[in-house]
């Protein structure tokens, strides 16, 4: 005796077949979610006590990164400027601007401004600014076009796969040391070649490979060892 109608065969096949897609789709969705700005905050502006504009200060006024981020060449931590740095100028200009009241208050009372950290790596990752800057990794390679950001956000996902993209092929991103803090630097092309030690480069890969040698980068196996970043 037949309990089920013949059509159930088709339905069950479709269900089983469909389930494969459904599960894959779910997994895909989870992975995408995990890489999405919802999780990584990439390109998401965070709330800050003062709406500080890098676009204005860097792009507009041309202040060097190191004026505020003083320890970027010496320490793992680039440094967040003390209130004093802001007041160097703002005790002279925009002295009455209401937007700057928290800064003046901090200077008056001696209580620190509490910013929200923008580029925040997980605590088990030990990143060092000084060595990256020293080996020819430009600020905007990771931080993006900061000079065009009215409000600060992290440009990259800061996930491990993103770190490894570069650690596995550092030549793709290196630039001469004197260009590290140049926000308008462009990778060499036949239109805009880059000159280094008298040699003219028109493509990034040949420049990058030469910089890897010049700056004595450790091998890719070395810099992809776990203990390079985790300890």
């Amino acid at each position: 005796m037949q309990i089920f109608h013949r059509s159930t065969n088709t339905i069950s096949r479709a269900t089983i077949y469909g389930a494969v897609f459904l599960v894959s789709a779910l997994l895909w969705a989870l992975l995408e979610l995990q890489r999405s700005p919802y999780i990584t905050y990439a390109k998401v502006v965070r709330p800050q006590p003062v709406p500080f504009s890098h676009q204005h200060h860097v792009g507009g006024l041309g202040i060097d990164c190191r004026y505020c981020h003083t320890s970027v060449e010496k320490s793992s931590f680039a440094g967040i400027p003390p209130t004093k740095t802001c007041m160097n100028c703002h005790s002279q200009i925009w002295t009455g601007a209401p937007l700057l009241e928290p800064v003046r208050e901090s200077f008056r009372t001696g209580k620190s401004l509490v910013w929200t950290r923008v580029n925040d790596l997980p605590d088990f990752v030990y990143f060092d600014h000084s060595i990256h800057v020293n080996k020819g990794v430009g600020c905007n390679t990771c931080h993006g076009p900061v000079d065009q950001m009215p409000l600060m956000f992290n440009y990259a996902s800061l996930q491990m796969e993103w770190c490894l993209d570069c650690h596995r092929a550092p030549e793709k991103n290196l630039r001469p040391r004197d260009q590290v803090f140049n926000m308008r630097y462009e990778q060499p092309s036949s239109d805009k070649p880059v000159v280094l030690d008298g040699k003219v480069y028109t493509d990034q890969l040949s420049l990058g490979s030469d910089l890897v040698k010049k700056y004595k980068l450790r091998t890719v196996t070395d810099i992809t060892s776990c203990s390079t970043c985790h300890r």
Binding site: L30, L33, Q34, Y38, I39, Y41, R46, P47, S71, K74, S75, S76, F77, G79, I80, P81, P82, T83, K84, S106, F107, G110, K111, S112, L113, V114, W115, T116, R117, D120, P122, D123, F124, Y126, D128, S130, I131, N134, K135, K216, R218, T219, T221, D222, S225, C226, S227, T228, H230, R231
Partner: protein, 1018 residues
């Protein structure tokens, strides 16, 4: 009732170890079979079933079981819920974090780059010069001050662990009056009236009680208080004091002098019960270095150490010849030794120990006397006799006389003024105070530091006097609201030495300025500030007091430069004591009174971990295995194997100790090498108000201690109390033996044997290609990190363990977890014994991760959480680890430690501040192990690359290496043939642990070479 439950719980916790080894059976077993050559515990020596079982297990029985109060069913329910959530954990969203800059950033500060400040840690009046690592003005790690002659870069366990003492959340946080919170202003107010009233009577009612003071500034302040109030008195008391040393010097020279030794000049060292290679002996850090440098068999001028001692100590373990002798008999030994010079004839009379009846070591005694005398005679001017602080004055005087006879003075022995600024007899001083208290002469009592209500000798009844004599104003200044604080109306919370200004003298008299690393966490006050109050300077800060004092000593325009230099260097130039020349009054001294030579002797010693009890609440020290017994969290009564057999006692049996009508019940521990007819107890345990770590740990031995016989006495009555008490010893855990038999992990030879066969320690190594692993060309890399540990230099002081714990944020797990083998130390110091149980030889072996090139742990990890770096390091990736523990199972060295529970404290804010920001804080379910201080390697690599150079040999040191007082640990690049570590590894006595397994360990050992007296060897 609760105790019973506890006991039962402990039994359940460790069912495998319920039956302690019965010595009778053990003896029978030993007689029947040939035991291992080297052994760690008596169980191992006898090959007991428990030991066999333990060997087969990765962790001791119980370590991997779920034993907490949650039932298995409840646990499964929880697990079900967490499994459902597990899929989501990868999507954890990081919370937004604040970032807080300075308002005005100090010029020298570079966030992310630590700074180091020189200061000094003081214990018993003696300063240990240290450097403190500070991250944004948060002290995190203590190192030795390499430029200071008293440290040379080394530290001791107490200094190393004192950083945890500062962050201790149980510290007293407020000023209190009868337990209620008060302010400093309120205290000043309350003090004013009574202090004014005292002016009229010249301070006749004022008593100040301090611990040993070596600080010139504080001593000066106290003297000015006495000038202001001529009738006031300054009493000094510390339970572990040097009364006998000063008294001995007075006996010999008529004045209290400090004795210093130059061990680098000594060919023969005789220790009469002096544990001079362990923390707490003044100058030990320097002595360890000097001793270890002369233990190098390859340099060719090896010294020889004789130790005659009353309890097994790490100094005894390092000796070439050791004689266990009851403390009371050591004086007789000293007299017999002296007689060897006085006698004219060939036959020299020997007095011998008083307890002849039970004198089993007669032959050894006679041999020892004659060979020590012989060796000393042939090394006149290059030998030294050192006496332990607890030996009676007569022994110290005898040693002075013999050192003088031998012409050692001026060569190996030097005399200076005492470091103690007020060298009075401290027991007498406290006795006088109690008498005055009882006589109602005291109106105001200031107890500046210390805890006399807990640690005063029982017969003085200090606590009782404090409680019941109605002194109108009792003020206690202390780090904790301890037993003494409870009995005082006023308690002022003291600032820790890392929070306050001060000064202090090292063993050679050199003054170090103590500078604060951080503002007082709880607004505490220092003894300087409180004393200033009494001297009439109401608002003087510690800084003003100390700087003001030194300004008087160094007037002139260059004071600022002088002050800055002193702070920077860590000591004040020109303050080292000038050497004194003293002459012997007589060479015959009145013998110390002896009670009953045949009765059982009891020894009171400072504890190797909690000292006199002042470090009771320090979890690092509580969990630090004591050098010889590897005991943690407790102070059992140590007893020799022969005596235990006679009395039918087993380790962990509870006994009653009765002395002068006082009774203490405590468990015993059989300690190989302990003299017969004598027991040793350690002070500092059984605290009632210590804090969460110290309260209730161990047994209070102070009630047995009398002020006239503070260090040893005879006549203690020992009876079995019935029942057992679980002790947490790590001895025998993490064994590297296999069921097939033991392989000697520690290897040793005599100097002669070594000269004949230098490569004795090496075993045949399998050829490098005989492996299934794909070989990696490590020799082509720029760096290949390796370590060499010189067993000959290692004195088992445990300093490396604490340094590692501090550097690498290692958790404290607590007694119950140690019992089941879950302690977390990345580095352990194994103690091995060899030979006779009653007088064994002993060896130390520090065991960090071997960083095997063919690491057995890596291939079994299913998630790739432990992998090799190109520099040959066996990396541990915590965030990948899922806690299968396969790696630990496969590790032949048993160096991997697993977070069975959430051992780290993630809540307490103080402890968060203490942690090294460069090292991950591990959570539950994660395996961890020694990383060769990867954070330091990475930092030095980055620094060197930034400066376009390679890492220089010696600039990069691991935490264990850096503070090792003996310089026993050498770390470096083995690809550089000129590095120190490469050179050490080329020495023939270098060997790898379990090298036959072809793991190719990067950590290797230099075998121990002893320099025995040929006369005694035969």
């Amino acid at each position: 009732m609760e105790e019973q439950n506890n006991k039962q719980h402990r039994e359940e916790v460790c069912p495998g170890k319920k039956d302690k080894l019965d010595l009778q059976t053990a003896r029978a077993q030993i007689a029947g079979t040939k035991g291992p050559e080297y052994w760690r515990s008596l169980e191992e020596l006898a090959g007991s079933a428990e030991f066999q079982e333990m060997m087969h297990r990765e962790f001791p029985k119980g370590a991997s079981e779920w034993l907490d109060s949650v039932s298995r069913r409840g646990f499964l329910k929880l697990m079900g819920a967490s499994l459902a959530m597990a899929g989501m954990t990868a999507c954890t969203k990081q919370p937004l974090e604040p970032i807080v800059p300075y308002v005005r950033q100090p010029e020298a500060v570079i966030p992310g780059v630590p700074m180091f400040y020189a200061t000094a840690f003081t214990l018993g009046g003696y300063a240990s010069p240290i450097l403190v690592e500070s991250h944004l003005y948060r002290p995190t790690k203590i190192e030795g001050n390499a430029q200071h002659p008293a440290s040379l870069g080394g530290t001791d366990v107490f200094a190393q662990a004192s950083i945890l003492g500062m962050y201790d959340p149980d510290r007293s946080q407020t000023i209190a009056y009868l337990g209620d919170v008060r302010t400093w202003g309120g205290f000043l107010e309350a003090l004013r009236g009574p202090l004014n009233a005292q002016k009229a009577v010249q301070g006749a009612g004022i008593r100040i009680l301090t611990r040993t003071v070596s600080s010139p500034a504080l001593a000066d302040q106290l003297r000015s208080v006495l000038k202001l109030y001529p009738q006031a008195k300054w009493h000094v008391y510390e339970p572990v004091n040097r009364d006998n040393v000063l008294e001995g010097a007075k006996m010999a020279f008529g004045q209290p002098v400090e004795t210093q030794y130059k061990l680098e000049n000594a060919d023969v060292i005789v220790s009469l019960d002096a544990d001079f290679l362990y923390a707490g002996f003044p100058g030990s850090t320097r002595y360890i270095r000097d001793f270890a440098q002369r233990r190098n068999p390859d340099a060719g001028n090896m010294n020889r150490l004789y130790v005659i001692e009353s309890t097994m100590s790490s100094t005894g373990a390092k000796s070439d010849h050791r004689l266990p002798l009851r403390a009371v008999d050591i004086e007789i030994f000293a007299r017999d030794l002296q007689r060897q010079w006085q006698s004219k004839g060939d036959v020299i009379a020997v007095e011998g120990p008083g307890s002849q009846a039970t004198w089993a070591l007669k032959h050894e005694y006679l041999e020892m006397v004659s060979s020590v005398a012989g060796d000393l005679k042939s090394h006149s001017g290059s030998s030294v006799i050192i006496v332990g602080d607890h030996q009676p004055p007569a022994v110290h005087a005898l040693a002075h006389a013999i050192n003088q006879t031998l012409g050692n003075v001026g060569k190996t022995v030097f005399y200076t003024d005492p470091v103690d600024a007020n060298p009075v007899d401290q027991f007498d001083s406290l006795k006088d105070l109690v008498t005055d208290m009882r006589a109602g002469k005291v109106d105001m009592l200031f107890i500046l530091g210390g805890n006399p209500a807990y640690d005063a000798p029982a017969d003085l009844g200090f606590a009782d006097a404090l409680k019941n004599t109605n002194i109108p104003m009792r003020v206690h200044l202390g780090l904790y609201q301890d037993e003494t604080a409870e009995l005082c109306q006023w308690h002022v919370n003291e600032a820790h030495y890392l929070e306050s200004w001060g000064d202090s003298r090292a063993y050679d008299g050199t003054v170090s300025i103590v500078q604060p690393l951080i503002a007082p966490l709880y607004g505490g006050k220092s003894a300087y500030e409180l004393t200033a109050l009494l001297a009439g300077q109401a608002e003087a800060t510690g800084h003003e007091v100390v700087q003001g004092y030194w300004k008087k000593q160094h007037p002139g325009a260059d004071f600022d430069a002088f002050w800055r230099k002193s702070l920077h260097d860590g000591w004040i130039d020109g303050t080292t004591f000038a050497l004194k020349s003293v002459s012997l009054k007589s060479a015959a001294f009145t013998p110390s009174p002896v009670n009953d030579a045949k009765a059982i002797e009891i020894n009171f010693r400072r504890d190797p971990c909690v000292y006199d009890g002042c470090f009771s609440n320090n979890g690092w020290l509580q969990e630090l295995p004591k050098p010889m017994s590897k005991m943690t969290w407790d102070n059992p009564v140590l007893i020799g194997p022969a005596m235990a057999t006679r009395m039918g006692l087993k380790s962990e049996d509870l006994v009653h100790l009765e002395l002068n009508g006082k009774k203490v019940t405590a468990p015993i521990w059989i300690q190989a090498g302990h003299p017969d007819n004598s027991v040793t107890v350690f002070l500092g345990y059984g605290r009632k108000r210590a804090g969460r770590a110290g309260t209730g740990a161990g047994f209070d031995m102070y009630p047995l201690r009398g002020s006239s016989t503070p260090w040893f006495t005879s006549g203690v009555n020992i009876t079995k109390a019935g029942g057992t008490y679980k002790l947490a010893t790590t001895q025998g855990y993490q064994t590297m033996d296999t069921p097939e038999g033991s392989r000697p992990q520690v290897r040793s030879a005599s100097l002669d044997e070594y000269r004949k066969e230098p490569g004795f320690a090496r075993e045949e190594q399998s050829p490098a290609e005989l492996t299934l692993y794909k070989p990696y060309p490590y020799d082509k890399e720029l760096y290949a990190w390796g370590m060499a540990i010189d067993l000959n230099a290692c004195v088992g002081c445990n300093n490396c363990m604490v340094a590692c714990q501090s550097e690498n944020n290692i958790a404290v797990v607590g007694k119950e977890q140690v019992v089941i083998g879950r302690h977390m130390h990345w580095l352990r110091v194994d103690a091995y014994y060899q030979g006779d149980r009653d007088n064994p030889k002993a060896y130390f072996q520090p065991v960090p991760c071997m960083q095997c090139e063919n690491a057995p742990c890596e291939v079994v990890c299913p998630v790739g959480a432990t992998v090799h770096s190109t520099e040959g390091l066996n990396d541990m990736v915590y965030n990948r680890c899922v806690g299968t523990r396969y790696c630990s199972n496969n590790c032949p060295y048993k160096v991997r430690r697993f977070n069975f529970l959430l051992f780290q404290d993630w809540e307490t804010p103080q402890l968060k501040m203490m942690r090294n920001p460069d090292v991950t804080v591990r959570s539950r379910g994660v395996m961890e192990k020694c990383t060769y201080c990867i954070q330091r390697i990475t930092q030095h690599r980055i620094d060197s690359e930034r400066e376009n150079r390679t890492i220089q040999d010696g600039e990069l040191q691991t935490a264990c290496q850096q503070s090792c007082p003996a310089d026993a640990i050498t770390f470096g690049n083995i690809n550089d043939p000129n590095s120190r570590v490469s050179k050490l590894k080329a020495i023939p006595r270098n060997y790898g642990l379990l090298a036959d397994l072809n793991t190719r360990p990067r950590t290797t050992y230099l075998a121990e070479i002893r320099n025995p007296n040929p006369e005694l060897e035969s």
